[in-house]
Symmetry: C2
């Protein structure tokens, strides 16, 4: 656990100020088709249109913006299944900080290429055999770099929370907010914003059915560890929540739901056919559950967390279910 | 030629008032990748996110909103390679007007299905053998319906012009505006808005290289007719400009450029991979030329006219060039 305190909404607001002019203020999209089918009003926060294609830029840039001069010189190390890697690489490039990223060897080719494209040094590992956190800590120590973990860090959480802050600024009060859940950075940050800006709004996390450690943890009241789940939601193949993220999730989140891979494919197809958007499987988690659980008359926010899916992979996934 | 006068910017403003609350005010998207590659600033008006997936809703709804009580009762007839069909069907459904649509038998399956889904009656014809305008006029006469042509109608042109009106309201002055060109409804309407709101802005039409009747007409000073061109830009397979559209284009447009099918596929891939959007081949015309012609320092508006491409077709097109 970082020595820094678990963040609050003040930290989200400070992150928003640092991100102004750096992160896109992504659009909030509507769908009359979804609204007609559910009787609810859906508001989609399109982080698939964020810089580098996912919300992760928010947390990465915020964390690196908080580095002191010595940290900036020595550089940043990170481990990631994909989008955090690109986020750290891009933020480091913008801020002139050297970056080394540990990525799983089976991460989407597009994400590895994009990370290298942003100037990050990529070191590959086997996600089913090696412990990335141990590897990353060793790497950071050897090189004197600051390790920025993908979710369990106060500055990362505060940055991610700016997605819901913007959404709620645009929509006004919501009855429910559905957020994809991997390690909990996005969910915990967004829950801080929802609590402050829309106190009545119920916040739900949605994780892959194949790896419901978040749901288990939420119900058990302690962080449950699982093996790396096999799911198409490659951004949510986490083994456990973080200490900071769990502390916030326990306090601010209403419940954790799950979605199957088949539901994620259905949602991807819907976004492509009806909303003309590419959303990566992990980015579909929140909508996959929200469309099932929506009650007529509700105003429902849904975070689409990213759009980084190889076109070949996208085609393959939709083809299998078509 | 319709008995109505060729429209001006006042008609575009009147259309904008009718469309308020009916058409989406679509987002204007940016791309740092494009800006870095060209040295220009690009502003993408995303009509792929418009209702029914294309700008055509604007013109269709505006035209049907101008019907008198007798016309509303008798219904509307239309001919279209796709998006105009859906636009008329949806606008007719909203306004409670019966609609019959003549569509080419090889139109994208998604467009035919969507037109039927909006409650329109679809009559299919062979676009390479039959003259759709003759067929449509006969159909309208037999049924007492008002024929709304896809582009050469003052209310259609005025409606389409609201796309550039919104873009310029959002961006302020531009140096250049690139617009896809089929029959000229979108180009002429947008040129009216550009002239009024950004008098220094040069307006360019972009049509398929396989069917450059617009370019030929612009240079010859008279409407040139061609055979139906074979191009993946199925929304721009027109054989000639209209009398209203040509009158405006001659007066207000700087030049007409072309784009090859290969350039359209490149642009489709770019939008999907980097901007996470589905844009149909016709919708890529303006960008395909603009990225080639951009000068450093310019502020360039680009209309992405629609996103209605079958996923199977999309995959096939990208696969061939991959």
């Amino acid at each position: 656990m970082s020595a820094l305190a678990t963040p609050g909404f003040e930290d989200v607001k400070a992150a928003a100020a640092r991100l102004a002019g750096q992160a896109h203020r992504t659009p909030v999209m509507r769908s009359r088709t979804v609204d007609a089918a559910t009787g609810a009003q859906f508001f989609f926060k399109c982080e698939n249109f964020q810089r580098m294609g996912a919300f992760k830029f928010r947390g990465g840039f915020n964390a690196l913006s908080c580095f002191d001069a010595g940290q900036r010189r020595a550089g940043v190390a990170a481990f990631s299944s994909g989008n955090h890697a690109q986020a750290i690489a891009l933020a480091a490039q913008i801020l002139g900080i050297p970056a080394t990223i540990l990525m799983p060897a089976d991460a989407p080719a597009m994400k590895v290429a994009a990370t290298r494209g942003y100037g990050g040094e990529v070191v590959l590992y086997d996600r089913y055999k090696e412990d990335r956190e141990v590897l990353a800590r060793r790497l950071a120590e050897e090189r004197g770099m600051t390790l920025i973990p993908p979710y369990d860090h106060p500055h990362v959480i505060a940055g991610q929370g700016t997605a819901a802050l913007e959404l709620l600024e645009d929509t006004g009060p919501l009855d429910a907010l559905f957020v994809p859940l991997g390690g909990g950075g996005l969910l915990s940050g967004c829950a801080l914003s929802a609590r402050a800006l829309a106190p009545q709004c119920k916040v739900y996390g949605v994780e892959p059915a194949a790896g419901n450690d978040g749901q288990q943890s939420f119900r058990a009241g302690r962080i449950v560890h699982i093996d790396t789940p096999r799911t198409i939601a490659d951004g949510a193949q986490t083994q456990h929540l973080g200490e900071h993220t769990f502390a916030i999730i326990r306090r601010e989140v209403e419940d954790i739901h799950t979605a199957t891979d088949a539901e994620l494919v259905d949602a991807m197809r819907f976004f492509a056919e009806r909303m003309k958007m590419l959303v990566e499987p992990t980015g579909c988690l929140a909508f996959a559950a929200a469309r099932r659980l929506a009650q007529p008359g509700q105003r429902i926010g849904v975070i689409l967390s990213g759009g980084n899916v190889d076109l070949q992979r996208f085609t393959q996934l939709l083809g299998q279910a078509g």
